[in-house]
């Protein structure tokens, strides 16, 4: 390789600088671009499921509203707050790394992980409730097919399904297919995110990051914020869509 094409870095280059980048800033920009392109594929992935939700919601509005009202708005709401707060702690983890405060950034990473795990725990409680009420669709649980008890007019039992005129059990099951597909995929992404952040925490603990090299934390944050954004849409669409009809639907 001709002399003039060799390195433009003088003195000490950062140990994390890869040979095919000019400097750390270019490397960081490339990493950020790469993560964004990946997030675009994720938007395509979830976009397809949001489309399925949209089509079937408009085809079976009564069933979808009734099914949605059966979800716990408290658990869904608490999860929303937990996840948005975890996005805040994630952003703070990036900030602390950028200003060289290693200890603070590790605390924020750990907080983000704990909040993510809290979200998953609450999700598990919700899934358990669906199992108890036989709302897990199809034959996903062998021996416990979709078979919710339908409330008779006037009954106020929360565990029973309240079906307004026009809603069928089959279409309620369709809602729950979409509910489990979307929240299940979302939860899988949370689990992957927690694994990612655990790796970041360990690396941060070992002093790998600092003001010159924080790109891995930054792109992990981009992933985490994206998962938060998916939930920001999932919560109103799955949990809130029929609430304004609750008094009428019974």
């Amino acid at each position: 390789m001709p002399e003039e094409l060799t390195t433009t870095h003088e003195a000490a280059t950062h140990p994390a600088l890869q040979h095919h980048f000019e400097n750390m800033e270019q490397q960081r920009e490339a990493g950020t671009l790469g993560m964004w392109v990946f997030l675009v594929t994720e938007m395509m992935f979830f976009g397809g499921m949001f489309l399925a939700y949209t089509l079937y919601r408009y085809k079976y509005p009564e069933a979808f509203a009734a099914a949605s009202n059966h979800l716990s708005i408290y658990l869904g709401g608490i999860n929303t707050v937990v996840l948005i707060f975890s996005s805040f702690t994630m952003a703070m983890a990036v900030f602390f790394t950028q200003v060289g405060k290693r200890r603070n950034s590790i605390v924020c990473l750990l907080l983000t992980i704990v909040l993510g795990a809290t979200f998953l725990g609450i999700k598990a409680v919700e899934y358990k409730d669906k199992y108890r009420d036989s709302l897990i669709p199809g034959q996903l649980i062998p021996g416990r097919p979709f078979n919710p008890e339908v409330a008779k007019p006037g009954e106020t039992d929360e565990h029973k399904l309240h079906l307004p005129p026009g809603a069928t059990v089959k279409n309620v099951e369709l809602f729950f297919w979409i509910y489990f597909a979307m929240t299940g995929m979302h939860a899988l992404h949370m689990i992957i995110g927690i694994g990612l952040l655990t790796t970041m925490t360990i690396m941060a603990w070992r002093g790998r990051f600092g003001p010159e090299y924080y790109s891995p934390i930054e792109v992990s944050g981009l992933y985490w914020h994206f998962v938060d954004i998916v939930w920001i849409f999932l919560f109103p669409l799955l949990y809130l869509l029929g609430r304004h009809l609750e008094s009428r639907l019974g």
Partner: protein
């Protein structure tokens, strides 16, 4: 991305905005708006919340235009996905075909 370090007070402000948006969307969900407006309100609030997350938590506001272009491309693709599919389904039965 420029070496612009977003200050914690910005993150705190955005977090509070997101909390307000969450509260608003729950309150609005229980109010009966005419026609399809409930969905419009809910989605508008969600889009505003997501925009704040993208611009500030994800630093896009301080990012190179190339990142903006990538995001715009994704949104354009989603717009096509929804527009073409919905226009297909919603016009079924308009023409007398077997």
């Amino acid at each position: 991305m420029s070496e612009h370090i977003v200050q914690p007070r910005v993150y705190i402000a955005i977090f509070l905005v997101l909390m307000a948006g969450t509260g608003l969307t729950v309150v609005a969900a229980f109010r009966d708006f005419p026609g399809p407006l409930n969905a419009v309100v809910a989605l508008t609030i969600a889009v505003v919340k997501a925009t704040f997350v993208v611009l500030y938590f994800m630093h896009v506001r301080y990012s190179p235009r190339l990142i903006w272009l990538v995001i715009a491309a994704a949104l354009f693709w989603m717009a096509l996905l929804f527009a073409l599919t919905i226009s297909d389904y919603s016009t079924r039965g308009w023409l007398p075909v077997n």
